[in-house]
């Protein structure tokens, strides 16, 4: 009985090993020594302090978005537009930073604005799903390019900075609206703390509150939920909005903590919205688990970068790695007999 909690870890561990072996083949085909590469990756992500900060930096947005998505997935709302919601969060935070008259509350206001903007961006998809049963995969996906164009419009047009020599950026945020970072790194720890707190809060919400209970029922069996008189559409709607808001927080964190300005969408969001889907999926419906899965994906991304920097691997190796790992993980998970299944 005591071994059961370890079982998933063993399964995932085996899957990771298989993935490493497969990608090792690819590396060997490139003339690199796989063991050498992996050694470097491990060093870069775990033993090297600078490398650890790189993992942490990527973990921050993954933590926030992943937490929100876990809840959304649990309710059956497949939000794959977190990328766009993150961008809107960045826009909201930038609006506060650039245009609101200075008050001490501005920094929290940035995050509030970010969360609101992100939630707003998830609103159409959430509403259409809850009211008109329009599938959210499509609506969330379609709104991401719209978000990208919005950002491009703002940085090229009305929000273009005065001190940027005509390039496509807003002005830098004032100093006091830039988040503190860990010494010598890019890790904006307030957002990290926020992410951890949110994951814990969401877990508590899910496990101990009536709303959380309703959400779990809706996710596991809609007919039962209906029978129990739960307002399914409202639960789904709120779950969707919440995941949008969490993604918005991540966007606010990125611009407040790293960029200190609004810039090209492809630079603000490095695919976090999509990677977070893996983070959430691996969390198997438990928000608290993103505290493990987010750093894992952060380590994979950071490790992939090592392959790029240290071994001149083409940058696509990261996609190959992520894809292989994901396939191995879901295969392992499916082959292992489990009593319950969670997720989409």
């Amino acid at each position: 009985m005591t071994l059961r909690p370890l079982a998933p870890l063993a399964v995932y561990g085996a899957a990771v090993a298989v993935a490493f072996a497969l990608v090792g083949g690819v590396l060997a085909a490139f003339g690199a020594n796989p063991l050498e590469c992996y050694g470097a990756m491990l060093h870069a992500t775990f033993t090297d302090p600078q490398g650890r900060s790189e993992v942490l930096r990527r973990t921050i947005p993954l933590l926030l978005i992943g937490g929100g998505l876990t809840v959304a997935f649990r309710a059956g709302f497949l939000n794959i537009g977190a990328e766009g919601q993150l961008l809107l969060g960045a826009v909201g935070a930038a609006a506060v930073a650039l245009f609101l008259p200075a008050t001490p509350a501005n920094l929290p206001a940035m995050f509030l604005a970010g969360a609101t903007a992100g939630a707003l961006w998830a609103f159409p998809a959430a509403w259409l799903r809850s009211r008109l049963r329009v599938h959210e995969i499509l609506t969330t996906l379609m709104l991401t390019p719209v978000a990208e164009y919005l950002v491009v419009y703002l940085i090229n047009g009305p929000w273009r900075g005065e001190h940027v020599r005509g390039f496509s950026y807003t002005d830098s945020f004032p100093e006091r609206l830039q988040l503190p970072v860990l010494e010598g790194t890019l890790v904006h720890w307030p957002t990290l703390a926020l992410g951890a707190a949110l994951a814990a809060a969401l877990q508590l919400l899910l496990t101990y509150t009536p709303a959380g209970y309703e959400l779990r029922v809706v996710g596991s069996s809609p007919p039962v939920a209906r029978y129990a008189g739960i307002a399914i559409h409202r639960v789904v709607f709120l779950a969707g909005i919440l995941s949008g808001g969490a993604a918005g927080l991540a966007g606010a964190g990125e611009v407040a903590g790293i960029h200190h300005r609004l810039l090209e969408p492809a630079q603000v969001s490095l695919g976090y919205g999509y990677t977070a889907i893996i983070v959430a999926w691996l969390a198997r419906g438990r928000p608290i688990a993103v505290l493990l899965t987010a750093p894992l994906l952060g380590a994979i991304l950071a490790g992939g970068d090592t392959l790029k920097t240290g071994f001149n691997m083409p940058f696509r190796i990261i996609d190959v790695f992520s894809g292989t790992l994901l396939l191995c993980l879901i295969t392992a998970e499916a082959l292992w007999p489990r009593r319950e299944r969670r997720g989409p």
């Binding site: 690199a32 050498e36 600078q50 020599r165 790293i258 090209e264 490095l270 240290g310 071994f311």
Partner: protein, 390 residues
């Protein structure tokens, strides 16, 4: 593959050295430097990053004792961590090849005072941070002359990426050239909001051709526009990389870059000690035709596609009240701007922008800083241009 083996071997060697903690050996007969390059895009495209990488290769061949490494597709926010890693791997010279790396490069230069940094397209320098740029505006003017001569409809099309100063500068120079050859012509610009998108480039080019533009130029990191134009028998101007082979009958000319001229010059000076930490505060390369950092043509060594020479010789334009063949004018200006002391500059005053406001008074040149932060566009440019000054 060889490169990877070298990189692996070097990493191994470096690790071995650092672990053994040997004292520094006296300087060997041949001084070795390791120069590292950070690219914002993938090296496989036919654009910006690819050009830098080609230059890196050439520099490596040209300078004895030079060893290079590169990292591709590095987002702007990851400049500093990548620099950290490269310094760890022993890079003594680091080139950051995109404007967006500016703040990180400045910070890194302060963090590693013994490492030499070069920031392309930037304007902030320091004791160990130089800036450099190879710009096309002269070449675009010459391309414009040819475009103006070749267009029958009087409409020339331009597929643009983002309305940043570099593009506004290029489009304006292009338009000034077009109008010099054909005063009633216009340059229609369409924006694709992307540096790399074959589909957008194609559809924008198609839209331009439907609207009657019969000569095309562009800024995008593939040869799509050249191919698409050639299919409709429309002449075009290649951009950044040699694209002649994509349309041998329709690529008239274009812009080519030779970053290696800058890299070889800079690295040689680092090697012989002229440049080093503490000496770079005023080192700013703004290299043009004169230094050979840029070249006109769709292929190196071929300024104008022979198929078009005849038409360009026939076409006439007015210069200083006299009629000259466009071909002669182009070659004359090319020769002048390639000479050690050029007399002509496309942005010599008086120039008004397309809204009629005077931007360059008579008798003045535009300074490097003005060119680098250009916001206005020249007359003849038609289409939405974001953030134009009033």
């Amino acid at each position: 593959m060889r490169m990877t083996k070298v990189a692996v071997a070097v990493s191994l060697a470096l690790s071995a050295v650092s672990l053994a903690a040997e004292p520094a050996k006296p300087a060997a007969a041949e001084k070795k430097i390791k120069a590292c390059f950070i690219y914002v895009g993938p090296v496989g495209d036919l654009g910006w990053s690819n050009a830098h990488d080609e230059a890196r290769r050439l520099a490596e061949k040209a300078i004895p004792g030079l060893e290079t490494q590169f990292v591709e597709a590095v987002p702007e926010a990851q400049g500093l961590p990548v620099i950290d890693r490269l310094v760890q791997q022993g890079c003594k010279v680091i080139f950051t090849t995109s404007f967006g790396y500016m703040d990180h490069t400045v910070e890194a230069a302060k963090k590693y005072p013994d490492v030499v940094f070069g920031h392309a397209t930037g304007f902030k320098r320091g004791p160990n941070l130089a800036t450099y740029m190879a710009d096309f505006y002269q070449v675009y003017y010459l391309n414009g002359l040819m475009a103006g001569a070749l267009t029958k409809s009087g409409k020339v099309g331009y597929v643009g990426a983002f309305p940043i100063p570099e593009l506004k500068r290029h489009i304006s120079a292009f338009a000034l050239g077009v109008r010099a050859a054909r005063p009633d012509a216009v340059v229609n610009v369409k924006w694709i909001s992307s540096w790399f998108s074959p589909q957008k480039a194609r559809e924008a080019a198609e839209a331009l051709m439907v609207e009657g533009n019969d000569v095309l130029a562009f800024t995008e990191d593939t040869a799509t526009v050249v191919q698409v134009a050639a299919r409709k028998k429309i002449p075009s101007f290649s951009h950044y990389s040699p694209m002649y082979r994509f349309a041998p009958d329709y690529a008239v000319s274009g812009q080519l870059v030779h970053w290696e001229k800058i890299y070889i010059d800079f690295l040689s000076k680092v090697r012989d000690g002229t440049y080093g930490p503490g000496k770079l505060k005023d080192v700013d390369y703004w290299w043009l035709l004169k230094e050979g950092a840029v070249e006109m043509g769709a292929q190196p060594g071929m300024p104008i596609n022979p198929k078009y020479v005849g038409a360009l010789k026939k076409a006439q334009m007015t210069v200083g009240g006299k009629q000259v063949a466009v071909y002669d004018r182009v070659m004359e200006l090319l020769k002048d701007m390639q000479s050690p002391s050029p007399k002509f500059d496309p942005f010599d005053g008086p120039i008004k922008d397309r809204n009629g406001v005077e931007r360059v008074p008579a008798g003045r040149h535009m300074t490097v800083e003005e060119l680098g932060s250009m916001q206005w566009v020249a007359p003849g440019v038609v289409g939405p241009v974001a953030d134009e000054p009033k």
